[in-house]
Amino acid sequence: MARVSIDPVTRIEGHLRVDVEVDGGVVTDAWVTGTLWRGMEKVLIDRHPTDAFYISQRICGVCPISHSHASALSSEQALGITVTQGARLVRNLIEAAQYLHSHILWFYTLAALDFVNPVNALSADIADTYALAQAAGTRAADFGAIATRLQSFVDNGQLSILSGHWWDHPAYKLPPELDLIATAHYLEALEMQAVAAEIIGILGGKFPHQMTSVPGGTAFVPTESKLDDILFRFLKVKDFIDTALIPDTLAVAPFYLDAVGYGKGVGNFLSWGVFEEAGFDAYKRFLPRGFAQGLSLEQVEPTDVTEDVSHSWYKSASGLNPADGETVADYTGYDADGKYSWGKAARCKGLPAEVGPLARMVVAYLAEASGQALTPDSFGAIRTPKVLIDSTLEALGVPGQPEVLLSLLGRIAARNLEAAYVADLSVAWVNELIGHVREGTLDGFFAEPTTDTGKGAGLWEAPRGSVGHWIDVQGGKIKNYQVVAPTTWDIAPRDDNNVRGPMEEALIGAPIEDAERPLEALRIIRSFDP
């Protein structure tokens, strides 16, 4: 039995430590630690709701758009604002751009290096690489040039960001040609994530940290020329998703099929819903709200959330709903049996809940399976979650068995399939908005508050999972502010009843070939995009 501490976990947003107990080549216990506390909720107190929109997104530099939207939603609920249809569409587009940016960046820049070995790519045969790319239906690149570039890089002897990694780890299983394809797409993905970010730049001023989705609507006024600029970019990104991200996923998956056998986690899935529909009903959002225990779907409300702190470095009361939440930090050092994380243990209906693309796709799949239409007829043929999941299950040889999704591989696949769905939606929304602008059928972009006192819960979804901002405004100033970030759900430590959090639970049962180099554990950790 060995206790392994993975600290720091790299290629994630922020700071994370994970300890696993490995017995007989299998993880038997795990502790996940958020190692940074900055006190965002405290900074917001006594400021104005709009300030919260601007400041609170700075919790996370990788999903700031979603935080900003959750913050705006919370303020709008508190101040009695309903945003206009124009603002709704602009916000959906900024959010979509971030999803595409984030999912591409996650798959290639953050996660790929756990499966793809660029050092191994050096021994690829260029002709075979082209043949493989064609067979896999993935896009070609100048593979020869990339191999040369890689070779000169490696010859130089300074490995830069590739330094020190376990490149000889036996868990790398791809043939060199596929490694080369993926490495080429790794470089291209750096370009594509930036193209997606340019869309946010145009709509929101800059990325990370956008400027326009202020409570009340948006400060961005769309013009046809601006929308043409973003349409062109959405199409470019969508093309990359269809011709690289999805085929790459399907090409790599067969080499790691054992990953459907572990990494499942708690099996409870929460989605607050994201991408607002015309009626502003969270259960009808393009990715709808819902809570799934396994594959059974139920409704969920903000009051279902509690945060336990008995294993977290806080001395405020445990088990509070964020509407009455408190944040009183009290660092007492790492103690795996006691307090060991800055993360609070978020619970939904008393249960640990996984959030993120897998959770959203499960909820959407179940909603669709029960007959709910996710997109309006006017959008035409869009690859909805059910269509995407069913076709992928078929491609992997497990048709009609959505339960295989509840695994490490499923979590990765769900993220990329979601990217395909969002790419389709984004193009439909731009066209819808262009139509409105052309015909002048929009009702403005900003609505004033109707009160200066109230409470609100802004529940939304970041690419990495459910985000909730709870606000209490009195006399135009913030009395209390609580954030339950995506990571709060997934990296949650044990709760008051000593029940593990989703990532901790997902690690249990994972095979570890070499306890000194727990690459498989890192795959599971990163599959949550923490």
Binding site: G39, R58, D142, L159, S160, L190, F445
Partner: protein, 405 residues
């Protein structure tokens, strides 16, 4: 000469199908970012082409949101792949590096031991709970920074958090965050620090500074400081309370956003946006009345722009919130008002200066009215009260003298 250099960047670019013309163009864009003249372009090209060895660099994340890392991933002149593969050997870069855990820490320790590297620091310096607000690999973020800073040739602070603590040091600064320079002063570490604020940092500025360091200064920290015009701004450290002098590259942080703003013409014309999403917004009127902090924020945003020049805050319709300023959250909130709120002490609240002034003015006006009525009632108006025969002081003194007698 330059073409022959082995492993040169230009060769690599040529392999990727980049023509010499394109290459010079991108060197030109670096020169423009640096504020250098076109005449420098061949020199820049030569410097990059001849750089066979990559410059070792460490990227440390303190109390960060990873936004500055994200931002640098959006650089395009040169792009991030070129930076990490052909300019810098970023041996430690948590968000992007392949290795994790001990393997990652080991590379970092080796680089520190060898020396001769640049340290890039993102995020606030977390001093709360003796550093317990950030612990990585069993050591506090403070220890990590100290170790990496002592042996570095120079430190580039990316983003406002690294400069002075950023939003994290905003009231009440519960996690006791501060900036790198303040912390290093406190620790007596004299490694030169260059500050690149805004939240997040603008990637083109980081790239410009790296190229400036390797090019103009020939990889020499002292020369870099000597040859790069700097603005010095003095702050009071958020944690230690000491005076700290911060260095900012003048070409990037010497002028206000207001001075370079494309909407400046509308400002002078007195054409303003009063409501978001309005007709005036569509016309691109000035955002001054909705609280734009451009007039007091010294950054080059309107020139460099963001996300590969796609747009920037003001162009998209939002007022500047001053994220490139010092203590930017406290100094600029409420963002949508002209003046920041004033803190009236613990347990009280923030008040707008205008409210304080109006109350003071109102009280005085009311006081004068009441006083005037009093003067009338006392019969002093008109004509005044009769003047005393003798000063009170003299009368008392005389009385006292009389008493003595």
């Amino acid at each position: 000469m330059a073409q022959e250099a082995h492993g040169a960047l230009y060769d690599l670019l040529a392999v990727r199908g980049v023509s010499r013309r394109d290459f010079l163009k991108y060197c030109g864009s670096i020169a423009a970012t640096l504020g250098l003249s076109e005449a420098m372009v061949p020199q820049i090209a030569a410097a990059i082409e001849s750089g066979a060895k990559l410059k070792p660099a460490l990227w440390l994340n303190g109390g960060a949101c990873t936004g500055c890392t994200e931002s640098v991933a959006q650089a395009d002149s040169p792009d991030v792949a070129t930076i990490v593969l052909e300019i810098l050997s970023l041996n430690y870069f948590e968000t992007v590096m392949a290795a994790a855990s001990d393997a990652a820490e080991k590379v970092k320790e080796e680089t520190i031991a060898e020396g001769g590297y640049i340290l890039i620091y993102e995020g606030s310096v977390m001093t709360g709970f003796e550093g317990g607000t950030l612990v990585v690999a069993g050591k506090t973020g403070l220890e990590h920074l100290k170790e990496a800073a002592e042996n570095a040739e120079a430190i580039i602070c990316v983003g406002s958090c690294a400069v002075d603590g950023g939003w994290v040091m905003g009231r009440p600064n519960a996690a006791e965050a501060t900036g790198v320079q303040g912390f290093l002063n406190h620790e007596g570490i004299a490694t030169p620090v260059v500050n690149l604020p805004t939240c997040p940092v603008n990637p083109e500025w980081v790239v410009a500074m790296v190229v400036q360091y390797l090019l103009v200064a020939g990889d020499d920290a002292a020369k870099f400081l000597e040859m790069t015009p700097m603005v010095t701004r003095r702050i009071t450290d958020a944690v230690y309370g000491t005076d700290v002098d911060l260095l900012f590259p003048k070409s990037l942080f010497g002028q206000t956003i207001h001075d370079n703003c494309p909407r400046r013409g509308h400002f002078e014309n007195g054409e303003f946006v009063t409501e978001f999403g309005s007709e005036e917004e569509a016309l691109g009127y000035c955002l001054y009345k909705v609280g734009c902090k451009g007039p007091q924020t010294f950054t080059q945003c309107p020139v460099t722009r963001w996300n590969r020049r796609a747009s920037w805050c003001v162009e998209s319709g939002s007022p500047c919130i001053g994220c490139g300023g010092l203590n930017w959250v406290d100094n600029n909130t409420p963002f949508l008002m002209r003046l920041s709120d004033m803190w009236l002490g613990d347990g009280l609240t923030y008040v707008q200066p205008g409210s304080i002034a109006a109350v003071a003015g109102g009280v005085v006006a009311a006081g004068l009215v009441v006083h005037g009525l009093g003067m009338k009632a006392a019969g002093r108006v008109p004509g005044g009260a009769p003047t005393e025969e003798m000063k009170e002081y003299d009368r008392k003194r005389m009385a006292k003298k009389g008493g003595d007698k």
